[in-house]
Every structure is written in structure tokens, then in C-alpha cells.
Symmetry: C3
Amino acid sequence: MLSIMFYIAITAEAMTAALAAGRRNMDWFGVCLIACVTALGGGTTRDMFLAHYPLYWVANPYVLLLVCGAALLTVAIARLVDRLRWPFLLLDALGLVVFTIVGCNIGMEAGVHPIIVIVAGMVTGIVGGILRDVLCNDIPLVFQGELYATVSIVTGVVYYLGLLAGLPADIVVLIALAVGFPLRVAALVFKWEMPRFVFDREMRK
Amino acid sequence: MLSIMFYIAITAEAMTAALAAGRRNMDWFGVCLIACVTALGGGTTRDMFLAHYPLYWVANPYVLLLVCGAALLTVAIARLVDRLRWPFLLLDALGLVVFTIVGCNIGMEAGVHPIIVIVAGMVTGIVGGILRDVLCNDIPLVFQGELYATVSIVTGVVYYLGLLAGLPADIVVLIALAVGFPLRVAALVFKWEMPRFVFDREMRK
Amino acid sequence: MLSIMFYIAITAEAMTAALAAGRRNMDWFGVCLIACVTALGGGTTRDMFLAHYPLYWVANPYVLLLVCGAALLTVAIARLVDRLRWPFLLLDALGLVVFTIVGCNIGMEAGVHPIIVIVAGMVTGIVGGILRDVLCNDIPLVFQGELYATVSIVTGVVYYLGLLAGLPADIVVLIALAVGFPLRVAALVFKWEMPRFVFDREMRK
């Protein structure tokens, strides 16, 4: 089940990333690359931090074809994807939670400290979007929008504590989904944001 | 022969990267760093993806001196380098093909899936330029200009299929060069571009 | 002693990075992430170049809490931190030298070529600031300001030669500090800069 949701999430991330590339008039290759970086960049960064080799997409190269296929499909049906904004936001919220759970699993396999397990989940969930924004020459959205990284951290903590409590893994996945997904959706609906740190003094030279 | 062309290509990449740094008024250190990132960033990224350690420049640190030397030479003779635009475009085209072949070789040594062999070649060929553009605060050119990544992919496929067909390695290198190099030059001359994905709807908030 | 200075330097880097994030109106999560990337990004990059696993903060996750705590404290006392510009510049200068020494030590442990030992020190000293500037969507300051990377290189060379000469490690640390720290401070006071490479020809298309 987690595995099916994982592929759905990767596909959804690839499609929304393709729209971002289209807004910058990138060519089809750029669209595919932005899609790969967004959908797979978080897991890749996590694996490189944890020395967890081979990387996921090196071991399963067909996921690259899935991502590029989804990105090129988006080129063909861009207006439809854009109109389906809410379904995609929901899929993205699902993806955030699923990526976090997968990342925590890899962290626990690697036998790292609980703090790093949570960090591994968060890196998996958010770094793809950060890399997309850097390549599109924006300040990453995740630093300025509705609760996103926070959802990932909460999901990771719930998931880790659930496993620590000895609950069956399937149940804990469901609990983490039942906490993280509505939290992200609520953040979108009610525009919950982290407090900002607005510091308007110019840098003194 | 591949090895000689590899050093020529690294030197050419370092010199054109130095010009890009000069357009942003960087200091000499910035010029050297941009040159190193551009000339060596692709291979470094590939090696980190494949866990192929030690990195090339860690094992052969003199290549850093070559790159920095070429970059500083460019500072001295900038107007000449700028006037030699076509020779440098040709050297860059050669570099793209040579880097791709070298990257495919490393991929095959690592025993990865054929798709990843091609990806390893492409990462070696194009990531240096992407990192240069990110550090210079541009949207990467490779997403918007004449065929570049495509040339790398075609070269990689030809090279891999040639080796798979059992042809002698030297011959396959020549074939890959004979396909990739004219393809890139033709793309430059005739301004062949990938179709763009222009999506002008603002992001709905 | 080096270890105490190391933690002081990390804390100072985290606090000045938080101010940079505040200038871009990031939220508290963004502030913490920019702080982590700035304070720990140099060492992380060096470790990934040298395949020196586990990464420092993976093995010592409490350093993440230190960095995030320092960043959030900065949100509370931002005007004070801004007014203390000179103390922080001095701490940053100390950090540059200490990070360089630590990086050289890791390089020597890894048994790499002397050139790479110096590079490992420099990467540790400067890459955090480069990553901060990329995430804040600026051209990295280190390419355009007062001597910074050069201080790191000089410190590394002095440190390496001192150890090579067979002096006791503690003494060599003190010598490296006594060379690198005043050099950076003098560069700030007298506005010593590397020569710039100003190349104003537009790219010919």
C-alpha cells in the first residue's frame, strides 16, 4: 500500500514540477530534469547524507521513465492539470506524508539516532521542492508558505513514536497518514503559516 | 587519445566558465571556483551518485591546478578568448561528447543498468554547466538553449550500443565522436532547439 | 580547546545566517534550515567529497539542536545581534580559521594528497556561506567581498606545513590561528579584496 502511494506521489510531484518548468518556458528536456529533481531529489539527498547506496533510482531506473513520462504528459495536458489544482494539492499533501514515512524507514534501517530518523524523513519530504526552486531561480517556497516542513516533522515524530510503542507497522503508517495528511490540508485551507522572521535592517557595510 | 581530449575539454570548460564569472565581476578566487565547479562538477556529481570514490580530482589533484591555471590565464587574455568564440564552442562541443563517453565508462565499470549508464554520461556532460549557472544566479542555460543534453543522450546511446555490439572500444569512441560532435555543431549552426513548454498561467493561489 | 572554539563558531555562523534569512522574511523553519546549511554545509560537503561517513551531524545530532536553538534565539534578539556587528564579524573570522583547521585534520585522517588537505580545509570554511547565498538567491558573497577564501587557504597551508615540520599539534593550531585570524580581521578593516575580473562584453549569441 505504501509502495502504491509512493508511486502516485512521485507521479504527482513530477506533474506539478513540470508546470513550474513551463512557467519558465523551459524546453522538454528541462521539464524532465526539473521533474526528476523534484520527485527524486529528496530521497537522493537523504541517501547521500546516510551513505545509503545504491541510490533508489540507480537501483530502480524505471522510476526515471515514470517521472519523465508523467512530466511530458503534463506538457500535453497542461491546462487540465492546472485546472485540477485541488486534486494535485491533495496528492502533493499525500506525497509529503508518504515521502516522510519512507524516509524515516530508511533512517531506521541505517540505525541512526532518532533525531536523524526525523531529519531523514523531512529531507525526503521537502528537499525535492527546494532543489526545484533553486533551479528555477526562486527563493524556496517551503521557507515562506503554509506549514509544510512542520507537517513532515510532525508526521515523522508520530510515525517514530508509534513504532517505538510497538504497534504493528501497517497501523502506524495509517496513524501517521491520519495525522499528517489532514494537518497539511488544514494548513492549506486555513492558510496556517509559521511565524515569519522579518528583519528589515539593511546589512551594514 | 580520449585522455588527451579529456584534458583539452576540461581546459576549455574552465576558460569559458572564467568568462562567465568575469561577466559577474567576480574576484580571482571566484573565477577559479566557478571554473572548478564547471569543469569538474559533472564528474563529481556522477561519482557521488554512483558512490564511485575517491572522486576524480581527489585522486588526481593536479587537475585542480590545471583548471585554476586555465581560469587565471583567461583573466589575462579575456578579449582574445571572447573573440575566439567559435573555436571555444567547438571545444565545448568536443567536451560534451568526451565527458559523456567518460561518464558512460564509469557507469559501466560500476555495473549499473543501461539506463543509468546513459544517465551517468549525461550527468558528466551537463551538470557542470548547471552548477555554474546556479552559482551565477541564472536559470540554467541547458534548459533553454540549443540541443545540448539531447546530444549527450544520443552520444551515450550510440556509445553503449556500439560496445554492446562487440565493436572494439577505440572504434566505438570514434563512432560516438562522429555522431555527437557534428550533431552539437549542427544544433549551434542551425539553432536546433527542443520544443519549449510555455505555460503562461500564473500560479493560482 | 579547538573543540570549544568549533562550537562557538558554529553558533556564531548560525546566528548571522538567521539574520540573512530574516532579511528575506523567511519563516522560523526557513531560519533554522538556513542556519543548519550555513553552519554545517561546509563540513557536510567536505565529508561527501571524501566519503567520510557518517557525516558529523548524523553522528552528533545534538549539534542540530544547538544550531536551531541559536537561530531561534536570534529571532528573539535580532536587533541586539545586528548591533553587535563587530563581535560577530570577529566570531565569523574565528570560525573561518577553526573550520579550516578542522577540515584539514579530516583531510589528513583520510590520507589524501596535500593539495586536497588544503581544499578540504577551504571547503569546510567557505561552502556553508555559498550554500546560504544560493538558497537566499544571491550571487555568493565570497566571490566578491574582502579576502575570505584566501584566508582559509593561507591558514590551511600554514597548518599543514607546521605539522609537516614536526611541531606539536597544539602549537601548530595556535600558529594557524595567529596567522589566519589577524589576516581576516585586517582584510575587513582595510577592505583588502582580491583583484576582480571585470569582463563587460555581453555574451555574443
